[in-house]
């Protein structure tokens, strides 16, 4: 119970300040876990970032890795729940307010006004990934074929991702 409580308290504190938030979390976690608490070495921390990046979840699953280091599976779960709890609570509140406010004209206008900008940000995310994913002509080809399969032939993304995983595993691409 001792170490679990410490893990939960530490990550809850971080979760309250950063609401589980994105890449800003990385330097904050480094400060706490490596510099202050010595739960991870710098090397372990970097490898933890790499492992977190391998998963579909947000970078915040770095907490799972650190929690595992301190108190095994229980620590991993405690760290994850504690880090996400404040952000999840806040997003539930926002979703609730949305349900209440969505018939309000001004709230609706505000949200509709930013919709095109959100669309732009989605394209931006794809472009920012470009240099890493499209470094070779094979990557470019795979990306083009995937786009056609997804939009024109309406393949399920899981199958298209499966093709990508297979080419990566076999070393064909990128």
């Amino acid at each position: 119970m001792g170490p679990l409580f410490g893990v939960a308290a530490t990550f809850l504190k971080i979760g309250f300040v950063f609401f589980g938030g994105g890449v800003v979390l990385v330097p904050v976690l480094h400060q706490h876990l490596v510099t202050d608490l010595h739960w991870l070495t710098s090397r372990e921390f970097l490898d933890g970032v790499a492992i977190s990046n391998l998963t579909p979840g947000p970078i915040a699953v770095l907490a799972t890795f650190a929690g595992y280091r301190v108190a095994s599976v229980g620590g991993a779960l405690a760290a994850t729940v504690a880090l996400f709890a404040p952000g999840v609570a806040l997003m539930l509140m926002i979703s609730h307010q949305y349900a209440r406010l969505r018939d309000d004209h001004r709230a609706k206008r505000f949200l509709n006004g930013i919709n095109p900008a959100v669309t732009g940000l989605i394209f931006a995310a794809a472009v920012l990934l470009g240099p890493a994913g499209l470094a070779s002509w094979r990557g470019l080809l795979l990306s083009g074929v995937s786009f056609l399969l997804l939009t024109r032939f309406r393949w399920h993304p899981a199958f298209v991702l499966g093709i990508g995983a297979a080419t990566g595993y076999l070393g064909v691409c990128p």
Binding site: L54, Y68, V88, N112, G133, S143
Partner: protein, 223 residues
């Protein structure tokens, strides 16, 4: 909440008519909480690339395929989620809450995160036991180009529904440029709103008002 209960987001079902706007009946699907959770488990398992890749999967699954939530509302959820950081998890909460309330929001985010947490625990075990990261890296490298295509296709699909006026197209393009320049997305969204107000005399030049799609965009619209 009964396990077999099915929910759908039908415009008009929650006093929408009082808002005085008539939406196209673009939301038609319904789903049980159990199937919704399975869908999130699936997305949480295949959504490699995180963030926008996951948003793209959710858009395809819940807005395009199952029609549980309109594209407009989906984008609202993404926008609200971006304010808080890990927007993919927040979009899961938003969708769960819209369809099944508090419990739905909570269970959907758990279902979405569970596969990643299990994967990280497994990889942590391997890492601390053998001090090496398995050959998963090759697989992830191969996923990169597909993830880019996936995000583009989601952006394309959302744009067809959301970017309906030339002004909206300008806002979307500027926001994309700002995003590529790595400006903070919250400021981009607020600036977009301010620009919309300035350009549109307080009305919505940049807004996606519920009218027909822009003709040029509708040419490219779904068959």
């Amino acid at each position: 909440m009964a396990a077999g209960e099915r929910r759908s987001w039908v415009p008009g079902s929650e006093g929408e008519a009082s808002a005085g706007l008539v939406h196209e009946p673009e939301v038609a699907g319904s789903i049980s909480l159990g199937r919704l959770l399975v869908a999130f488990l699936k997305i949480g398992s295949i959504g490699f690339g995180g963030g926008m890749a996951v948003i793209a999967l959710m858009e395809q699954e819940f807005a395009r395929k199952r029609r549980l939530i309109s594209e407009d509302e989906f984008v609202h959820g993404v926008a609200l989620g971006q304010i808080l950081g890990p927007f993919a998890a927040n979009a899961a909460i938003f969708i769960g809450y819209r369809l099944f309330g508090l419990l739905g929001g909570l269970l959907c985010v758990i279902a979405f995160l569970a596969p990643s947490v299990v994967l990280v625990i497994a990889l942590s075990y391997l890492y601390f036991e053998y001090h090496s990261i398995p050959a998963l890296q090759g697989i992830v490298a191969g996923l990169g180009p597909v993830v880019i295509a996936l995000i583009f296709s989601a952006g394309w699909s959302i744009a067809r529904n959301v970017v309906r006026t030339p002004a909206a197209l300008v806002v979307a393009a500027v926001a994309a440029a700002a995003g590529i320049a790595r400006l903070n997305s919250i400021w981009v969204l607020l600036a977009a709103r301010a620009a919309g107000l300035l350009l549109g005399r307080g009305d919505d030049a940049a807004a996606s008002t519920p009218v027909r799609p822009h003709p040029r965009l509708s040419l490219l619209s779904r068959r």
